[in-house]
């Protein structure tokens, strides 16, 4: 497996409803280099998960990618046939789900679930697959992997289950790992262990995308971050800089609320109000109805992502923020 970058450019995803078309992901771009980790941050409904499912081409029937590119080592995933795409999934890009209880099939043994994609992709034969599966289970810190591999997911504790989930994604040694809130469902001590596990992976050269609304987790583990609101990227930059000096009022609100003690497990409600119904997207900056600093202009002008720092590492979609640089 060669370490390759995932480069997403101008991704647009739409949902075709009965009477209208919703643009759920609008002009999203990012890059994940080997050995780096990108955090995608945002409230529920901001389009994080759809972005990732667009890349994996696992949108529901009503969804479609309307534009953009997603290159993995030079291949545009969005242009592949379904057949070719299947070879990418699970082999080149692995995916870790938020809740292993739901993402692992309750009626199949771990062995089956850890080895089936090795076989699908013709990586190795059954015996070798099993060997690798046991090896990987051991790697993620599951004791007695030889025995555990015969058990069913529900027979594991929550933390173990999440490890097994990660093992499932790791067993094929993908170049990119997409982790969708991988630590939300587990308690703090387990969370730390899981993050260390992912860090080892990163150290081995895997690029990781972590969808999260837990900034503590993001800061601990990720290198870069993009903040999404209503399907668009409103701010991007190295995670530490973002945390230290959020540029977008939304980012600022998000951060102040999540840093409070005990706020971690609550759904994000950083700012009063709810995210907009995408069918009735406010004109101008989509955030302006909730923004404490909004002015008339905010409701009139679309806000493109503009450079915010001199090194060009940071960008923000807020004219006021740019003004204040």
């Amino acid at each position: 497996m060669s370490a390759s970058s995932l480069e997403v450019e101008g991704l647009r995803t739409e949902f075709v409803l009965r009477d209208r078309v919703l643009r759920v992901v609008d002009d999203v771009s990012f890059t994940v280099k080997p050995g780096r980790a990108l955090a995608i941050v945002g409230e529920s409904g901001s389009g994080k998960s759809v972005t990732m499912r667009s890349v994996m081409r696992l949108l529901p029937k009503t969804g479609r990618v309307a534009g953009g590119r997603a290159r993995l080592g030079g291949t545009d995933l969005l242009g592949l046939s379904e057949r070719q795409m299947r070879k990418v999934r699970g082999r080149d890009i692995g995916m870790v789900f938020q809740n292993a209880m739901e993402a692992l099939n309750p009626t199949l043994t771990l062995e089956r679930q850890l080895t089936e994609h090795l076989l699908w992709h013709g990586v190795c034969d059954r015996a070798e697959a099993k060997r690798r599966a046991i090896q990987t289970l051991g790697d993620v810190g599951i004791p007695e992997p030889e025995q555990r591999i015969r058990t069913y997911p529900f027979q594991l504790s929550g933390g173990m289950r999440q490890r097994a989930m990660i093992a499932t994604a790791m067993v094929t040694q993908p170049s990119v790992l997409i982790a969708d809130e991988p630590t939300t469902a587990v308690d703090v001590t387990v969370q730390r262990q899981l993050l260390d596990l992912l860090a080892q992976l990163k150290a081995r050269g895997t690029g990781v995308i972590m969808i999260t609304h837990d900034l503590g987790v993001a800061r601990y583990f990720c290198d870069d971050a993009i903040v999404m609101y209503a399907g668009r990227v409103v701010e991007r930059g190295p995670i530490r800089q973002l945390l230290e000096r959020p540029a977008h009022p939304y980012t600022a609100g998000l951060f102040s609320s999540t840093l409070e003690v005990g706020a971690r497990h609550r759904p994000l409600q950083p700012v009063p109000g709810a995210p907009p119904d995408l069918a009735h997207r406010p004109p101008g900056c989509a955030f302006h109805p909730r923004c404490g600093q909004a002015e008339q202009r905010c409701g009139q002008e679309e806000q493109p992502l503009l450079p915010w720092s001199e090194d060009g590492q940071r960008e923000v979609a807020c004219w006021k923020a740019v003004q204040h640089v």
């Binding site: 409904g45 529901p60 938020q98």
Partner: protein, 300 residues
């Protein structure tokens, strides 16, 4: 990221008027389901027809026309022909519809009341009461409802009320179990805990907090129970336990019609077709309701 529920759908769902929009969204979804919507219109037509039967039917159901016995379709004055006695088939179908719907709705209403009472008490009070009530439903479940029907019909006479009760009695069990299950899940919710901590009485909690939340699923099962009850009415009529003749019932018309299947097929096929259509329409409405309430489904 359990599919898209948190995405566009939920994004819109979290509003202040959450409850109202829950229903209105369900209605919107229902309306968009063409089959269900057409079925609903058909069912509404049926209900109106049943209510207005005396004005719609050209004849009384027992009025005979000795000069036009076994008239075929499209006979003058008897659009759908007549039966052996010369009774107008169209009129009898209309009144039969009335019987079917009256019995079905009545039976379901009765069974719903019983089911809610029992399910609510079992689920809310729990413990011995729960065990006892669920024991009763277990027995009822294994009990051949046909025997109930016979006894009711014999004790009460072959009245429409007996038929209604007979059907209602055999259909409350599933509903009661459903209510209980709903209560058990809702009971654990925080707002119920909160209400309890504020000293709300059991009855208040049951009626104000638990019941409304159980109504969605109940509505769905009821919508399926209606066609089942229509079918059960026909079945009882076939066994000679239906409403008293000459009050028309589709079941007895069908069973009568089967003996004329060769001599006068329209005596069978008209009630059978109408029966099937009605059953289908109600079933599809039920399907529509289920889909409309099923928020876990993908938004179309």
């Amino acid at each position: 990221m359990a599919t898209l529920t948190e995405e566009p759908a939920a994004a819109a769902g979290v509003t202040a008027e959450r409850a109202r929009s829950h229903w209105s969204r369900a209605w919107a979804r229902f309306r968009a389901n063409r089959l269900a919507f057409v079925s609903l219109i058909f069912c509404a037509l049926l209900i109106v027809t049943a209510l207005a039967a005396p004005w719609i039917a050209p004849y009384h159901f027992s009025e005979t026309d000795p000069d036009a016995r076994l008239a075929p379709l499209l006979t003058d004055g008897h659009l759908l022909g007549t039966d052996l006695l010369g009774r107008d088939i169209f009129s009898r179908l209309v009144y039969g519809l009335r019987t079917a719907l009256f019995v079905a709705f009545g039976a379901e209403l009765a069974s719903l009341v019983v089911a809610i009472l029992i399910g609510l008490s079992a689920g809310y009070i729990g413990g011995r009461v729960d065990q006892g009530l669920m024991g009763i439903t277990d027995v009822m479940y294994a009990f051949p409802s046909y025997i109930f029907a016979i006894v009711l019909v014999t004790v009460m006479g072959r009245s429409i009320w007996a038929v209604m009760l007979a059907i209602g009695i055999s259909s409350w069990v599933t509903q009661a179990r459903l209510v209980r299950a709903q209560v058990l899940t809702v009971k654990e919710r925080e707002y119920v805990e909160a209400a309890r901590s504020m000293g709300a009485s059991g009855v208040t909690i049951s009626l104000r907090y638990i019941l409304p939340n159980a109504i969605g699923p109940l509505l769905v099962t009821t919508s399926f129970a209606i066609p089942a009850a229509i079918g059960a009415e026909a079945g009882l009529a076939l066994l000679g336990l239906g409403v008293q003749p000459p009050t028309p019932s589709w079941g007895s018309m069908i069973s009568e019609g089967t003996s004329y299947i060769l001599a006068a097929p329209h005596l069978l096929f008209l009630p059978a077709t109408l029966f099937a259509l009605t059953l289908l329409a109600f079933t599809w409405v039920g399907d529509g309701i289920r889909d409309a309430f099923d928020t876990s489904g993908e938004d179309r």
